[in-house]
Amino acid sequence: MAENGDKRLDRLFAAARGAPPDTARAEEGFEGRVAARIRERRPGGGEWPMGAWAWRLSPLFGAVVIAVGVWTAATIPEPVAGAGTEIAAAWEAADMADFLGGGG
């Protein structure tokens, strides 16, 4: 019985090998369709070889970040304390004096 099953299976496989799949239709223009899929996916970035460009350009990105940092430090003036800040500081000092002097 098992032998029959084996023989039958072998015959099925042999016959199926005699009818290899026909891929001719799928082959027509296949390169173009793959290229279109690649273009579609490109904005995703990281998983593609174009991601290699990110590494190659990393020194440039680093230089840009440093330049922006230097420019920011050089051009933005130091914050000046406003009137509100001064009033709050005065109240805090008064509260502190009261507390330390036992007035609270």
């Binding site: 098992a2 099953g5 084996d6 039958r8 299976l9 015959r11 099925l12 496989f13 042999a14 016959a15 199926a16 090998r17 005699g18 009818a19 290899p20 799949p21 026909d22 891929t23 239709r25 799928a26 082959e27 296949f30 390169e31 173009g32 369709r33 793959v34 290229a35 899929r37 690649i38 996916r41 998983e47 593609w48 070889p49 174009m50 290699a52 460009w53």
Partner: protein, 189 residues
């Protein structure tokens, strides 16, 4: 003027990594038949073949930087194809029921050289029976018995050990025989 010498695969890969998509189209054109033939063993309809074939080349494109050039590009691409087919089988198993066996083709006559119709009937019957196997077993038995790869080749393509491949092949055959016997019982009953 004679055509320029075709660029070897390794140089095309380097060109793709430098951003030349035309080089990748050349690689696809050169290897599409080999890849689609593998994909066709695991596809049930033309749209599945197209989708799986494209997925294989998209995976190859994404992983191209991993190709070291130590083995022929076609070997590396076959591994990518087999891995993609295995992923597709596992995904499909979660989504779709196997093909029915109630209208299976009759037994093959005991001939050494089946005719075209008989061969196609055999392929259909096998496809239905194979769709009921676990993905790993289906992959192994397809590569061994339909693609006529050796155990060593299947191990290399799948990344499994040779012992593992043999065990899966044994289980696949046992299961296929059971499925066919069960279908026979259904036909008679």
């Amino acid at each position: 003027m004679a055509d320029p010498e075709p660029r070897p695969d390794g140089r095309l890969v380097a060109a793709v990594l430098d951003g030349d998509d035309g080089a990748f189209a050349e690689l696809v054109g050169r290897h599409k038949r080999q890849v689609l033939r593998i994909a066709a063993r695991f596809s049930r309809a033309p749209h599945e073949l197209e989708e799986l074939g494209q997925e294989i080349f998209l995976s190859a494109y994404a992983d191209l930087g991993q190709y070291r050039g130590e083995a022929p590009f076609s070997h590396w691409l076959s591994r990518v194809a087999v891995r993609s087919c295995y992923d597709a089988l596992r995904k499909r198993r979660r989504e779709i029921h196997p093909l029915p066996l109630d209208d299976v083709a009759p037994h093959l006559a005991d001939e050494s050289d089946p005719g075209k119709e008989e061969a196609e009937a055999a392929r259909d019957l096998l496809a239905r029976a194979l769709s009921r196997l676990r993905p790993a077993e289906r992959l192994v038995i397809t590569l061994l018995s339909l693609e006529e790869r050796t155990v060593r080749e299947v191990a290399r393509l799948t990344g499994w050990t040779e012992v593992n491949v043999k065990v899966r092949a044994f289980r696949a055959r046992r299961e296929l025989k059971r499925i066919l016997e069960e279908a026979d019982g259904g036909e008679r009953g």
